[in-house]
Point group: C2
Chain length 665, copies 2
Amino acid sequence: MIEDNDYGRRRVVIETVSPQVDGGRFAIKRVAGEKVAVRARIFADGHDVLGAMVKFRAAGEAVWQESPLQLLGNDWWQGEFRVPPLGRCQYTIAAWIDPFATWQRDLRKRLDAGQDVTVELQIGADLVRARLEGVSAEDRQQVTPLLDALADASDPARQTAAAVSEELGQWMFQHAERRFAVELDRPLDVIVDRPQARFSTWYEMFPRSCAAEPGRHGTLKDCEARLPYVAEMGFDVLYLPPIHPVGRSYRKGKNNAVMPAPEDVGCPWAIGAEEGGHKAVHPNLGTLEDFRRLVARAAEYGIEIALDIAFQCSPDHPYLRQHPEWFRRRPDGTIQYAENPPKKYEDIYPFNFECDDWKNLWQELKSIFIFWAEQGVRIFRVDNPHTKAFAFWEWLITEVKATYPDALFLAEAFTRPAVMYRLAKLGFTQSYTYFTWRNTKAELTEYFTELTRTPVREFFRANLWPNTPDILNEYLQFGGRAAFMARYVLAATLGANCGIYGPPFELCVAQPLAPGSEEYLNSEKYEIRHWPLEAPESLRGFIARVNRIRRENPALQADDGLAFHPVDNPQLICYSKQTEDHANVIVTAVNLDPHHTQWGWVELPLDELGIDAEHPYQAHDLLGDGRYIWNGPRNYVELDPGVCPAQVFRMRRRVRSESQFEYFL
Amino acid sequence: MIEDNDYGRRRVVIETVSPQVDGGRFAIKRVAGEKVAVRARIFADGHDVLGAMVKFRAAGEAVWQESPLQLLGNDWWQGEFRVPPLGRCQYTIAAWIDPFATWQRDLRKRLDAGQDVTVELQIGADLVRARLEGVSAEDRQQVTPLLDALADASDPARQTAAAVSEELGQWMFQHAERRFAVELDRPLDVIVDRPQARFSTWYEMFPRSCAAEPGRHGTLKDCEARLPYVAEMGFDVLYLPPIHPVGRSYRKGKNNAVMPAPEDVGCPWAIGAEEGGHKAVHPNLGTLEDFRRLVARAAEYGIEIALDIAFQCSPDHPYLRQHPEWFRRRPDGTIQYAENPPKKYEDIYPFNFECDDWKNLWQELKSIFIFWAEQGVRIFRVDNPHTKAFAFWEWLITEVKATYPDALFLAEAFTRPAVMYRLAKLGFTQSYTYFTWRNTKAELTEYFTELTRTPVREFFRANLWPNTPDILNEYLQFGGRAAFMARYVLAATLGANCGIYGPPFELCVAQPLAPGSEEYLNSEKYEIRHWPLEAPESLRGFIARVNRIRRENPALQADDGLAFHPVDNPQLICYSKQTEDHANVIVTAVNLDPHHTQWGWVELPLDELGIDAEHPYQAHDLLGDGRYIWNGPRNYVELDPGVCPAQVFRMRRRVRSESQFEYFL
């Protein structure tokens, strides 16, 4: 340290920089056009004035852009920059002692105290002269009159005016001596995704259940026919469970029976058969060309197809013959199937990520993503990533994004929090959450406060699902139609990313495999179902309305602005989201009791919502289309689950038109 | 990454390691014999059992010692190690997948489920065999019978008994394959000080005011005569303001007057004159030999002499002639004096830490510490370290400790929190605090919770002073004798390190220079004072009693165990400290109102204090010697400031002697 000739003269310290993840080990996440608000504690010994900049550049750029940081007080500095449209970018902070700003500050005090500043003015002129070297002719021209005035002792008034001028201060800041500036030890990374990373509405559906008539194996063409139905409900991502050939050995029967009937179709996650593996389409579903056409047709409806990437093999997968070295071998010569002792999953073979040939395994797995990206897929729902090596995911996501920076990855990891957060840090764009099991007001408040009000927000993007083919929560089993409505409103307004597994969701299918189980009875995981889409109890119209509200209200398209508000009834939950400029303020109230009408007084922080507490304002329920005139922070809500268990209010302020007509905007 | 052949196979992650300071940039602090309780989140993909160790070694040792970490749950692991007696040490964590422990866990489940485990037992035997290579003959001998039993299919009962045995598990843990183990990116540092770093009681006194008779300049010999007085009060550090020659140019007069009288003695912090600088003793105080004798005599009383190191020069300091390059020069040829515009301190010249010759400046300043260390000084109170370069202190403290690892440094920085904390991180052993300005219950509770219950505790050791020559707080100015008593009890029981500036403190000197000022009237900083040590109102007996309580109760010799407890009176504050084993539990109650008797109900968390809530216990007030039988968590206290504004209870549990006699221990 002391060997470095400037070491002892770098007097500034930069501490407690945010946002960052694990000391810069991982990137923070943003989408195109978002800002990064940078904060740090910056200080030096003594009382000198400091200068500080946030520096940022897109990956591959050599030159940094800069934006000044402002001192907030107590050594906290703050600034911001806008991220580039897509890909990676970096940022760092530079800070330095600013002798000229120090001199100007002190000079003003000396002048106020009426002191003789003759020598001080000479010092100031010297500071300016020292910065002339290496400056462009234009810049030099700009400062010359100021320096001349500063150095001209014959006109003291002009001299001091130049000395304390903002213009000279600005010029000196822009040309500051930064030889002893400090920067962060290493730049911090930002992953910039396209806006869909932050705002997306998913619909999961089994293609083989999409046949128009019962009893037939659905096809990708049937999926095409289903697109208008999905689009009408307002979904923009259509996620298909694995579409690959399904294994025959140890195939599971209906309701996960160990002995299948001959006509049983097996589980789509038992991937691979004679017909092919992870890069093949199940012959009963159609061809690769059918798939590409589905992708194209979906795009016409504003829908992206998301594929399920499940890295595991059925016993019939070609990999088992081609690459036995990628699997664990037992002393009896057999290959090790999946287990959770004492349970055995003999229809599934996991890859051995500790195998000697791990590099080739990684490359092959990557080629699966690339293959489907080449077919037009940019959204991947990754099955059980927490049972594959962490290092693999970090490498894989970086590699795929190097070619397809618009690729999005949803981590399907329902496991311990540290593991779920780690996967998000490693690069997964979105993550499944514990939402499904958070049903009370206290649970929801605590969990979503953690996700949106702590550093977790910098790397973990929640995607909220009230149900999945694996999870039919007790709340839905017993809550009836109102429970499905409430849970969808919660998912769609708490989370900018959300999704449902349909048609069971919109049809309010609620029967579990067995009491106490979260498995569906007659689950589509093991058999083909035919769904009565036109059933009168279907929530398709309700869901369409909720999704339209999401599309029309930017407040619901991000999770940053989420705030919970008190209600004097534990069955009622109330929260808001808003845009930074308060232009769009959405307040949602949900009755968590699916059986009884609940009412209570909601208390809103009007200041924080940008609402004038002195005048009435309108709470416009975008769900029921009721319009209520509210006054002050405390207002009454009453929700009958038999009608609708939620209200989604757009807050409208009173404005007066030129013709003095008053209305709410 | 992927180029590394093992990279993809290192599957374990270590996160959120504590204790550490700023991601390992700075060392944590401990004293001899203390433990470091290490916590981290450690996990891998999948469901394998992990093994984890904390590794530690003293600086300079090549070999790590190890101690296993235990899984607490939710991926949190915990362990501990004891630090070496003095100097630096390092620690890190190693963690790995443990296939044998995984196998044992799964085997037990398989056996419970009555499954055929023939192949599993072969796998287990293979795992053991794989660990035999490179193992000592003795270790091999130990495992051979177990392996033989495990491999012997002819006796299945013996086979499974060996398979699931703890003994085999232990052996395999000790000989675990750690090829793919992960460790922290870099080891974390611990600075280990002698116990005085954590527990010390300081007395500050001006040597020149120590003459037995008024009107004479006190000497170091007079200080010797004062030692019994200081020792009787129970102090173990005697801190002397600068003892060097005092400058004559621009000398300050009494009460900081700009024009001194001829007989004025100046300010000891205006260091340097013809007679010498920072390595000289003021001729009026005596000689270097006198100083060395004072150090030796003090040691006989169990007192260490602490010196004030103030890096600044009077205009007469030899450095100004010898090393003008270490100071800032003005365009008029003069050297820049200290300023806080518009205020000028023309009697003081600061060093220029940005000068070209900074390396020689650093070396010279270091030589001052070394010089006084050679005279036997090991405690340095550093004046205004926050106005010297941070990098200098980190280097200096490391350098001095390389030769004198028992050296202690107290940072006298009364400035913004980030700066004070930074100095502590850089290596200062102890720090002055905001204690002086924290007088209400809320202020004290918040501040000491921050210091002792947050990561601040790992690097910042508070030293609490109710007064200093610069600070006579308003509370003391208006509170009378009870205020001095209360503030000393607070300092001495909230902080294991504390000190007073005497004799003004024990004599309850309370008159400020002016209303609203915290300066003393007729401050010793500018004149010699003669103090009536035998005054009847002196608190010397009270202070002696408090300090004896500190010496006799280990709970008060550390700050870790501090906890605040509710009292239903805002003027009463109550808190406890205890040893880890609950053997010594001290509960302090202080009346913060120096004018009125206050009473209230204290509520103690008996469980946390190791007190049996079912039986009465004794609260023994070590200050007043009252003994109270308390029952349950809520008990009454009443404090009359006219008598004593505080009680310091030692909690005593009821025990029964062999002869069935009950008493409180």
